[in-house]
Point group: C2
Chain length 344, copies 2
C-alpha cells in the first residue's frame, strides 16, 4: 500500500504516514530514558537548600518550608529561561521586535522518591501532582504580564531532561506561542462557521471510529491523532468541553491522573521506558487582556485544553525542519492497537 498524506484539522499540518512499512514497537531501539546519574540529586529530600526557596509544597502537618516531609514540591528553576521581575519594555528595532525576557519558570518535583517515574507512582500521588499543576497554573494566570502558561515534562536525556529525579516544568510567557496560535485560529474558524468546538468534533469522530482510541472512560479520552507526527504520539483530552485547564473540577483532576497513569504505563511497557515529552495545551490568558464579558463568553468555545504526549523515538531531520511536516513510520491505528493490547 502506498504511503498516505493526512491533514490535521487542529494544527493545520500535513503528515506523511508510511503505511506500507508500519513499524512495530520493537522496531524502535529506544534510547533508554535513563540518565547518567551524578553523585548528588538537588531534588531529593534533605537537599532543599540546594534549590531556590519553595513556592509551594504538599506537606505532612507540621513540616517547615524547605525541609523534608513534602510529597510534592515547587520552586523556581535555578537557571530560568525567563525572569520574574520587571516590565516587558516592548520595543521595535527597525523591522524586528523585542521585549525583555520576563516570565516565570518553575520546577515541580513530583515526589520524594528519586527512583520513581511518574508512570509508576501510586494513583493518589498522581492526583496530588495534577492538583499542583492546576494550582500553579491558576496562580500564574493572575499575573497580567503573562499571556500563556505552559506545563511540560522532559523524560529522559533524549527528550531534554538533565536530571533523573521525576519533575515537570512550568513556563509562563508574555506572548502566545506560535503552536498555540495556530490551534486557536483553527478552533476559532471552526466555531465561527459551525458554532461547535473543533476539539469536541474531533473527539466525537474518534469515539465513533474507535480505531485510534487508547484510553476511554466517562471523563477522559486518549487517542493517537489521525495525522500523528510521531510514532505513538497521543492526545489526551477531557470528553466534556473545557475551555482551559484551570476549568477542571476535583473529579476531573482525579480522572486526569487515572488516564495519564494508564497511558504512560502503556507507553513504558510497550516501548521499554522511552524518552518522552508531554505538554499541556490550554487557552491563552484572555481574561487579563479582554475585559468585556460578552466577548469573553463567545471565546469559551475557541479552545479545549488537552495534553500532547510525544515519545521521542525518531530523529527530526532536515525535511521536518525545512517544511514543518513530518514522516511518521507508524500508522496511528497500529500504534493504538499495540498500546491497547498491552496488559498492565
Amino acid at each position: 500500500m502506498p504511503s498516505e498524506l493526512r491533514h490535521d484539522p487542529i494544527q493545520k499540518r500535513w503528515v506523511i504516514i508510511a503505511t506500507d512499512r508500519s513499524k512495530r514497537p520493537t522496531d524502535f531501539l529506544a534510547d533508554h530514558a535513563g540518565l547518567a546519574e551524578g553523585p548528588f540529586c538537588p531534588f531529593c529530600p534533605g537537599h532543599e537548600d540546594k534549590t531556590p526557596p519553595e513556592i509551594a509544597a504538599l506537606r505532612a502537618n507540621g513540616s517547615a518550608p524547605n525541609t523534608p516531609g513534602w510529597r510534592v514540591r515547587v520552586f523556581p528553576n535555578k537557571f530560568p529561561a525567563l525572569m520574574i521581575e520587571g516590565e516587558l519594555e516592548r520595543k521595535g528595532m527597525g523591522i524586528y521586535d523585542r521585549m525583555r525576557g520576563v516570565g516565570a519558570h518553575e520546577v515541580i518535583v513530583e515526589g520524594p522518591d528519586h527512583k520513581l517515574a511518574l508512570a509508576d507512582m501510586p494513583l493518589e500521588q498522581l492526583v496530588e501532582v495534577m492538583g499542583t499543576f492546576r494550582a500553579r497554573h491558576e496562580d500564574l494566570l493572575r499575573d497580567e504580564r503573562f499571556k500563556y502558561v505552559l506545563i511540560f515534562k522532559n523524560h529522559g536525556a533524549t527528550a531534554g531532561a538533565s536530571l533523573a529525579h521525576s519533575h515537570t516544568q512550568i513556563i509562563a510567557t508574555p506572548v502566545t506561542p506560535l503552536a498555540v496560535a495556530v490551534e486557536l485560529d483553527s478552533a476559532r474558524a471552526h466555531h465561527h462557521h459551525k458554532e461547535r468546538c473543533l476539539f469536541c468534533d474531533v473527539i466525537d469522530q474518534e469515539i465513533d471510529d474507535g480505531r485510534r482510541i487508547v484510553y476511554l472512560d466517562d471523563l477522559f479520552i486518549a487517542f493517537t491523532p489521525y495525522a500523528s507526527r510521531f510514532p505513538f504520539e497521543i492526545m489526551l483530552a477531557p470528553r466534556q468541553h473545557r475551555h482551559r485547564f484551570t476549568d477542571v473540577d476535583q473529579a476531573e483532576v482525579a480522572g486526569l491522573a487515572r488516564a495519564l497513569k494508564d497511558v504512560l504505563s502503556r507507553l513504558k511497557k510497550a516501548l521499554k521506558d522511552p524518552p518522552y515529552n508531554f505538554m499541556f495545551h490550554t487557552s491563552p490568558n484572555t481574561e487579563t487582556t479582554h475585559k468585556r464579558a460578552h466577548y469573553w463568553q463567545s471565546l469559551r468555545f475557541d479552545f479545549h485544553w488537552h495534553v500532547e504526549i510525544l515519545p521521542r523515538l525518531t530523529k527530526v531531520a532536515g525535511f521536518e525542519w525545512g517544511t514543518g511536516f513530518y514522516i511518521n513510520p507508524t500508522a496511528p491505528e497500529d500504534a493504538a492497537r499495540f498500546l491497547k493490547e498491552i496488559e498492565l
Copy 2:
C-alpha cells in the same frame, strides 16, 4: 543582563535569547557528525547497481549511465517517503482530509570520494553540485501534481543522516508545507502594505547593522538571524531579489557555491564538524496552479529564496514542542562574531 524575547518577522516566531550566559563554540560538546560506518557504501563508485537507476549524472565523456566515472549522481531514494506514480485521490474523512502519498524523493550524491564532506570539496565541485540542485528543482517543477520542492541535507547522525557518504535529498510534495506557508503569509502581507519584499528589507537592515553578518560579497549574504532559534543558525540568501531558487543564473550558482563553502567551513572549524541540516526555502509551484499572467506578476515579490543552515547543537525539548518557540543560549551577534573570527 536579563534574557530577551525577539520576534522573527518572517517566521512570525518569538525566540528567547539567553544573553546573560551566552555560550561559546567550545561550550557545545557536539555529537560528532561522523557516522558509524558499515562495511559497504552503496553511494561509492562501482556500487551503482545497489541504488535505483540514475535520473541524472555529471559524467566524463563516454562513461555509461549507472557505471563509475560520474562527478555528481542523482537517483530515486531506495526507501522513498513519497511515490512518484499515481494521482492524488484527495478525499475527506469526516473532519479529516487525506490524499495518496504521491511525490518525488531523490538522492544527490555530491561526489565520488567517500570521505569528502561538502565543506571540504573543491569550489568547482560545489558549483557542479549547486547546478545539479537547480536542474533537478527545475525538472520537478514541471510536474503539476507537485506544489513544493524541498532540497535538504542531513549531515551527521544527530541531524538524521543514515549514510556517511556526502549527499543531499530532494522531496517534491503535493501540498505547500506549513513552515513555507507561514513565511509566504508574512512576505505577502509585507508586500501588500509596503510594496517591498520582506526578505529584501531584512537583508538591507542586516547590512546596515552589520553585527550578524557572517559572509558578504556582491551576490550573497549569510547572517545569523536576529531571532535565531538555534545557536549558530544561519540564513544565506541572494542580495538581489530572486523569487525562487530556479531564477538564479550561472554566476549566482557559482556565487552560492562560494558562499556555502565559506559558511560550512567556518561552522566545521568553529564547532568541530557539528551535525547540521540545511534546507532550501523557495516559493511554491505557483506557475502550475495560477495561469493568469497578471496575478502571477504580482506574486513575484511574495518570496525570496534562501537557505537555512541549522547546526544541531542543542536538544529540542518539551518547551519547544509545546509552544513552537525556542530558547537559544547563544546570542546571534556572538555567534556571527565567533564565525567571522575563524581563519580559513
